[in-house]
Symmetry: D2
Subunit: 281 residues, 4 copies
């Protein structure tokens, strides 16, 4: 009962893990809107019952792949084109992981092996997806690629750690490769900078609960949720947005352009009154 916004389009969706994932919501909504696509994730994730069930429900082939492996990505594109019967019209990249975050290494005490992994998995994988797709000429003219990002790429959120740097790198790759894909293939590449979202990945970030509340009160429309993010990404995959490229698009209820909201300040002031002192002399 969609509008057929993506009717006839073929896609690849990276990163659907469970029904909290934004990628999961995008798969569900893209299916409703008439798209056909493949799903890809790590081998472990692909064996999870719910991922299998999603793939069946969406009639989507499930293709295990390590997104840092060029060979695996070549296979993803090859199998996807075979399964879907043609070049790919849209790609979603929703991949991020930091061992420094997981292992509790602070930003001033990073393990550099972990940092390399953070960048490789969360950002360079996007270049690999794009380079593989480019060399195989696997993305159709007027195709659309979206990677999910976060505003930590522009401003520091304590606790987000080296993922902030990874997101900056990711957004830069979107611009750099967006230029080439646009010029040579009429393909657009954008990042969507989403509100903090309580996905499985998000829940690992230090102080996530307070952050969600703060972001929600700062945002005039409140935090955007995963369902809303899915809808927004569909517009970027549709033919209505053909000339939008190389952009980082905030989908965040307005958070990015608020310095301080009345609601957040009220909450903040309660803390101030409670403690009865101010940091400003």
């Amino acid at each position: 009962m969609g509008l057929d916004l993506l009717k006839g389009k073929r896609g690849i969706i990276f990163g659907a893990l469970n029904d909290k994932s934004i990628a999961w919501k995008i798969a569900e909504r893209a299916y409703e809107e008439g798209a056909r696509f493949t799903l890809t994730n790590t081998l472990v994730a692909c064996r999870m019952g719910e991922v299998v069930e999603l793939s069946e429900r969406c009639e989507a082939k499930l293709i295990p792949a390590d997104a840092t492996s060029v060979a695996d990505l070549e296979n993803v594109f090859r199998e996807s084109m075979e399964a879907l019967g043609g070049k790919i019209d849209f790609v979603l990249h929703s991949i991020g992981m930091s061992l420094n975050v997981r292992k509790g290494r602070k930003y001033e005490d990073l393990d550099y092996g972990f940092l390399n992994k953070t960048l490789d998995i969360s950002a360079i994988s996007f270049h690999k997806v794009l380079q593989v797709g480019y060399k195989m000429d696997a993305i159709s003219e007027w195709g659309s690629v979206v990677a999910l990002s976060y505003i930590a790429a522009q401003r520091t959120f304590y606790g987000y750690n080296d993922m902030a740097d990874a997101k900056s790198l990711l957004e830069s790759i979107a611009r750099s490769f967006g230029y080439i894909y646009g010029r040579e293939r009429n393909v657009r590449i954008n990042t969507v900078s989403q509100s903090p979202t309580m996905t499985t990945a998000g829940s690992g970030v230090k102080g996530m609960g307070g952050l969600l509340d703060f972001a929600n009160r700062m945002s005039p429309l409140g935090n955007a949720n995963a369902d809303e993010c899915a809808d927004y990404c569909l517009t970027l995959f549709s033919d209505f947005t053909r000339k939008v490229t190389m952009q980082n698009l905030f989908h965040d209820g307005g958070f990015s352009n608020v310095g301080i909201s009345e609601h957040a300040m009220e909450q903040y002031n309660i803390g101030l009154e409670f403690v009865g002192e101010s940091a400003v002399e």
Copy 2:
């Protein structure tokens, strides 16, 4: 033969003048997508045969108004709600004019009476539209307002003159009022920063021909045209983008994030070789 993207939505479209206008294209496409709306423009414009013809073709009531007049704007909202049978779901603001540009006054020799008019017509009119709509409670929950802008709000384009300052002011108003409308009414307000477009207004800008060529070669997807801009604006009026607000969204084929493109540089280098000298010693 649209997708019914805007089915059942009621709108007000400011600024459709002729078939080169972006507002005109938006009217045509919104109609196809199932929206009903009113058209408004100055009294003179409303008497032009083609505007009348558009209004008939789109079954849209034509309401003359001076967008700098609060009384006229009140009338626009009142008549629109009557004609459409309810609150307004979307508003397009596509209004801009500079007497300094028209009269050939350079930026270092502005007439300050003209500057006041530029700001009043091109930017403050947007505040008036929003304030009138707010006081009349005329915009529905999850409604969407878009104003058209240009990247001269961020970077200087010689010849764009005081319109650059007007666009900065316009974008600021979108943020400032977007915060309030979001918090109180769940309404979103954004600006779309469009490629230079050869509209009737655009054709008055000094050196527009060279600029169009430069922008086109700089943009990996080429300049976005008025039809494409219309499609993009429709997504912002639709229910797929409910949490996007207070943003300035570039619809420009990538121009905004290109420092120098290969195509523009090639063209530039021809000039360099032809002249046989370089500005850098």
Copy 3:
């Protein structure tokens, strides 16, 4: 006991009102660093004892002027060049006022006459200063002009009201005129976006106390104060920064690039715990 950073330079300083003013601090420090300058303010301000005392202490002629009057500004430049014996090397613009703020008119209920005054006094006055200086050829090659701004030009701070729009306009004027002054006169024009500061003007902004505390805890270096702002402005007037132009420079202890700091979050969380509920379901 300065370093003679501005030795031999001639300046004009707009907006010194009392020893809380940033302009006041700039006057004091510029004097220490070897500059000579005039002070200008409204007629009422120029009659205040402390302003007279500052002018005497800094050997600075006091020139009353309405900064929205072209004739008055012509007089400021003429008298300044006479008093200082040559063209002007630096200009500070520190002027802002909103009757909407003063009279408690909310942003969704602006008086448009007041809005015009806000823009005229707080932003267009800067264009007038620059246009008058340009036409009189009163600013020396490699001169430097700075206007004081605030981050509300980019992000909404509830309560800052129409001053946000004025600051956006101000920063746009700095870019637009900076382009021309750079190209034609080798003069640079920048804005300094300063931490919220408890000046006489600042103290009129709604909720200023909470905002100062919030900004201070958000900023890794704490809020920048007026003395520090003065020092920073001196570098922009000096010969060490000749190629910096058309920029908006944040002098804010890092506030502008922090999404959420640990210190602000701690304070915020106290409020959350105290109230015992969260805005996020």
Copy 4:
């Protein structure tokens, strides 16, 4: 005959290679302004006659180090503190290298081993410098760290290749670590985004000649050169800028905020007329 702007300050300067290097100019000027510092570069560079000569002229100890080696960086800080007799007040990071650029690998055909090296040398080395300095508590309160960057971090310049992504990562690291250093140590960290400069590194970038000319005509003040960049960096090391942190500061003659200049357009139009056709139909 300096002003003693940096009198008594102790520094470490990374990346002085020859008299075209910005780091070289900074060393010369810092010395004139009363600073004492060490110089560090790769072992090969440290053996070059001119580097030795610079170190002698500036009374600066020369410390060979691989900036990607934590052990080497620990040694740099240890030896510098010994040689200079205390904690470090300022650090300059001017390091960048891409094997993909050198070997002519295009951005759509990157060697991922080379990419890792680009990021490690050009960006992660900055994190290592900061982390080592942090753990050793080697940077004084109110110290200042600057890394040199380029606007390719924000906008695509064809030919700049994976260095664009490295600069984005570098600027993100400056923000992320700037937050921590600010909060814990009252140390500021910024990047300076410099005009394209004909250094030894810069001369490797494809199409550098045309780019320099274009940037020069786009910038109202013309391109900033290495000497001017040195002066600007000195202000950031001085006590006049204590509250500026986490910023990316454009030192580019205005380039970053120009969309199109009259001078660049004139040159561009010559190419258009010469070819006699336009890309816009």
